[in-house]
């Protein structure tokens, strides 16, 4: 195949992936709507003495299991309407298919351009979607962070949206590299930043759900620390904890590359500044998790602040601020 055929195949694969993510989102949305309706009906049916027992038992289990694998707290409840778990399963499988298509698209793109396929904003976005989808699927397969299954709709929606933006606003035809990007550090620095970004995204989704769930539980008066909110928070923490050293490494690799090509390892270029701000927010998050009175809600806000800084660095700095990283190509 010629490089233009590869380029065409890559574009089609990315388009297919986007469609698959949208289908996954629909399937997961219907699945979770039916589940929550089933759950509500079940709750009504249980408004008998047994409901109290159920709540008590559930609370107790979670207390015991702090630091243990979380039991599956949702989704596959035997009471939920028939077919809902199947819809959730289908949706999650579609996410896997979408990931395979995205990765295939990235590989084809690399073949078309004859270099690593992450050197402009279109490519960062596509690879970023693959990274965060992979991070999500890995985390959701682990018992401790299985609660993220509930975040599937948002994850699928975000993936579809990002790919849509990539294909319409950010699209750049496959091409070679300008000299300053022609370095082994491109592979390392940008790959690390993308992987960390994927995990940050999963973490951010979990943090948002955590805050929403926290408010919901407070309103309902469930109010105990050991709840679904806490499970979501732990899932977010897992994502951030994996992402943070990778992000640190990305920043260090960037500094080494900057030293190599611009003659200084740190120059407060806007991109560097925002990478630093992102780093400091996530560092604050990790410290907050170890500080009484900051764990939970406040920590989640810090994590979200870190994600906003990360997003601004990726989008805002490229579009509005400029600086030495401007060849990223909008």
């Amino acid at each position: 195949m010629t490089s233009s055929t590869y380029a065409l195949v890559s574009d089609r694969l990315v388009l297919c992936a986007m469609v698959v993510y949208v289908l996954a989102m629909l399937s997961l949305a219907v699945g979770s709507a039916l589940t929550s309706r089933g759950r509500r009906r079940a709750a009504v049916a249980d408004r008998l003495p047994s409901a109290v027992a159920l709540t008590a038992a559930r609370g107790a289990t979670v207390t015991v299991d702090r630091g243990l694998p979380e039991p599956d707290l949702h989704g596959s409840s035997p009471r939920s309407a028939p077919g809902t778990t199947r819809l959730t399963a289908i949706g999650t499988s579609l996410l896997g298919l979408g990931l395979v298509l995205t990765v295939a698209g990235i590989v084809a793109r690399g073949a078309a351009a004859g270099r690593v396929p992450w050197s402009n904003m279109y490519e960062f976005t596509v690879v970023g979607v693959a990274a965060f989808m992979a991070a999500y699927l890995v985390l959701v397969a682990r018992p401790r962070t299985r609660v993220l299954l509930a975040a599937g709709v948002w994850i699928a929606g975000a993936a579809g949206l990002f790919l849509g933006l990539a294909l319409t606003v950010l699209y750049t035809p496959a091409a070679g590299l300008i000299p300053v990007l022609d370095s082994a550090w491109l592979v390392i620095h940008v790959a690390a930043a993308i992987v960390a970004g994927g995990l940050f995204t999963v973490g951010a989704v979990a943090s948002v759900l955590h805050l929403v769930q926290l408010r919901r539980e407070r309103r309902r008066g469930v109010g105990s620390a050991s709840s679904r909110a806490e499970t979501l928070e732990q899932a977010a923490q897992t994502a951030y904890t994996i992402a943070f050293p990778i992000w640190t490494f990305a920043v260090i690799a960037g500094a080494i590359w900057a030293e190599n090509s611009w003659g200084r390892y740190w120059g407060w270029d806007p991109k560097e500044t925002w990478a630093f701000i992102t780093w400091v927010f996530y560092a604050a998050y990790l410290h907050a998790q170890a500080t009484a009175g900051w764990r939970g809600k406040k920590a989640s806000w810090l994590g979200l602040a870190g994600y906003l800084a990360f997003l601004f660095n990726f989008i805002g700095v490229n579009i509005w601020v400029g600086g030495l990283h401007s060849y990223a190509g909008v």
Partner: protein, 555 residues
């Protein structure tokens, strides 16, 4: 300080007890000693560290929005010209050099003090903890958050022996029986702990951050950085006077400049012709000859982006390029008053470039000494749009149709009084535009090879050829290796502090009334995210001679 005190509140106060105690919310008394102690505790508390981190992130923001002196001084000047009323306020706030400002420095200095104040006592605690034994087995294992129990026919000693063997193999540290004779010999139990490297990684990470900052500080105190423009074919000797821009730390000694020199033999670049990146360089490199000292053998190599030249501790980077048209100014009698490649600095990515020609010793028609200045732009691929909003421009950065377009001035160039001047600007205080017969300023427009006469018998200007120049950055940053080493160590420490999971396990075996042995196993994770339950199940499976399902109990 880092995230590992999560469960310290539960059973064990070893790490937390001598860490700074929770600060009282109000100063206890006004005695200076007490007050100082209170302030110190406040400063070194985690809450303060958290606040300072948050402030640090916020304080870094303005520097990415307002142009910075140290990053792009041209943009600062432009911004200040556009906002005359805000400028004094911004200047007073230090917003044009945020990262050197008092308030930014104050935040990170406080953060460093807070860090040291936290690290030192924790290192002491850790050192003591490292040499201490794992804690005594709690009396009631079933009170712990995760525990299992089962009965077996094996003797208690046998079970405990198996447990010790297993835990040792899993790299647990065991409490020595002799230290606690009553417990170990009596009803018999094993106390084990692992994951000491978490706190070690934590401490190493924070210490390494300080090392990194020391390395960075060394670079800015003893280092220098300069940039120099060299026309292809010319050379550059590393002396202070040769630099166009130069900044050095307060302890830098100009005599320490390495005595090397570099000659740019050839410069080669190719432009991308099509697509979105049209007009960007696809290849960009120079062949250079360099000598590390005047007596050294010349060596040749290629200098390119991402491939700097290192001479001893100094690095030379190729960071930019541009055009140097060869311009000759002749007197009316044909003698040469000025000749040579003249550097025109690029103004944007199209390589529309700006430059000046200064001719201090031209001869006027009457034979008197006359100074001439030319100032204007160079267009590599010239075009001209007529009419409203039109004007000259360049269609491509490569030299396809090079044109120089300058205005001519006569008078005093201001070079004679010895005051320093930029080579790239014309001091027009004592210069008058040369005018033609109609009184209009004389514009010298030259395509390659053309010559234009100046009015009043001042001679002629010709554009004879086109050279390129390269812009080199030269820097020496002592402490760079130290900073890098610090970063690597910090990263390793960070991995340890996040992924090593400290865990305590206890096994107790007691004889029951019916002559069997009741084995209780319990564990406590001192960080979140570990699979404690799995490890307990595994231990139970190993200790029970016949496979059996352990009873999980809930308190």
């Amino acid at each position: 300080m880092p995230p590992d005190t999560r469960l310290d509140t539960d059973l064990d106060h070893r790490a937390s007890s001598s860490a700074p105690a929770p600060p009282p919310s109000e100063p206890p008394s006004l005695a200076p000693r007490e007050l100082a102690r209170w302030a110190w505790r406040q400063l070194t508390s985690m809450r303060t560290a958290l606040l300072l981190l948050f402030l640090l992130a916020l304080a870094a923001v303005p520097g990415s929005v307002v142009p910075q002196e140290g990053v792009d001084s041209t943009r600062v000047a432009q911004w200040q010209a556009d906002h005359p009323r805000l400028t004094p306020v911004y200047e007073w706030l230090g917003l044009f050099s945020v990262y050197d400002s008092v308030w930014f420095s104050a935040i990170y200095m406080l953060l460093m003090v807070s860090l040291v104040g936290c690290i030192v006592p924790r290192t002491r605690v850790y050192w003591r903890g490292l040499r201490a034994q794992p804690p005594r087995t709690p009396r009631r294992l079933d009170r712990l958050p995760a525990h299992r129990s089962f009965t077996t026919d094996a003797a208690p000693e046998e079970v405990l022996g198996l447990a010790r063997e297993r835990l040792r193999a899993r790299r647990y540290r065991l409490r020595r029986p002799t230290d606690d004779a009553s417990d170990e010999a009596g009803d018999g139990s094993v106390s084990a702990e692992r994951g000491y490297l978490r706190e070690a990684g934590n401490l190493v990470f924070h210490l390494a951050i300080i090392v990194v900052l020391v390395g960075v500080a060394m670079g800015s105190l003893w280092g220098f950085r300069g940039s120099v423009v060299v026309v292809t074919g010319d050379g550059f000797a590393n002396t202070l006077t040769r630099y166009d821009e130069f900044s050095a730390g307060p302890f830098f000694d100009p005599d320490d400049l390495e005595p090397f020199d570099v000659t740019i033999d050839d410069f080669d670049l190719t432009f991308i012709e099509e697509g979105r990146q049209r007009g960007m360089a696809s290849q960009f490199r120079a062949d250079v000859t360099y000598r590390s000292s005047p007596d050294a053998e010349p060596e040749q190599r290629e200098l390119a982006v991402n491939h700097p030249l290192s001479v001893d501790d100094t690095d030379v980077f190729l960071i930019g390029h541009g055009y140097a048209p060869q311009i000759t100014v002749r007197n009316d009698d044909g003698s040469v008053a000025y000749s040579g490649p003249t550097v025109f600095l690029p103004e944007d990515t199209t390589f529309r470039s700006f430059g000046v020609v200064r001719v201090p010793d031209a001869t006027g028609a009457d034979g008197e000494r006359q100074q001439i200045g030319l100032e204007g732009e160079f267009y590599p691929t010239y075009f001209f749009i007529r009419g409203e909003g039109g004007g000259p421009g360049t269609a491509f950065p490569d030299a396809r149709n090079p044109v120089v377009s300058m205005l001519a001035y006569g008078g005093d160039l201001g070079m004679d009084d010895g005051s320093p001047q930029s080579v790239y600007l014309l001091d027009k205080d004592a210069l008058e535009p040369l005018t033609d017969d109609e009184g209009k300023p004389v514009r010298v427009d030259l395509a390659l090879g053309q010559t234009v006469d100046l009015p009043d018998g001042l001679g002629s200007v010709s554009f004879d050829g086109l050279s390129r120049f390269v812009k080199l950055d030269v820097a020496e940053r002592p402490g760079q290796g130290l900073a890098l080493a610090g970063l690597v160590v910090a990263l390793l420490g960070l991995l340890g502090s996040l992924y090593v999971r400290p865990r305590r396990l206890w096994v107790r075996a007691e004889r029951t009334d019916d002559g069997r042995t009741l084995v209780s196993v319990a564990g406590l994770d001192r960080s979140s995210g570990g699979d404690l339950s799995g490890e307990l199940d595994d231990l139970v499976t190993r200790l029970s001679p016949t496979p059996q399902t352990p009873q999980e109990q809930t308190p």
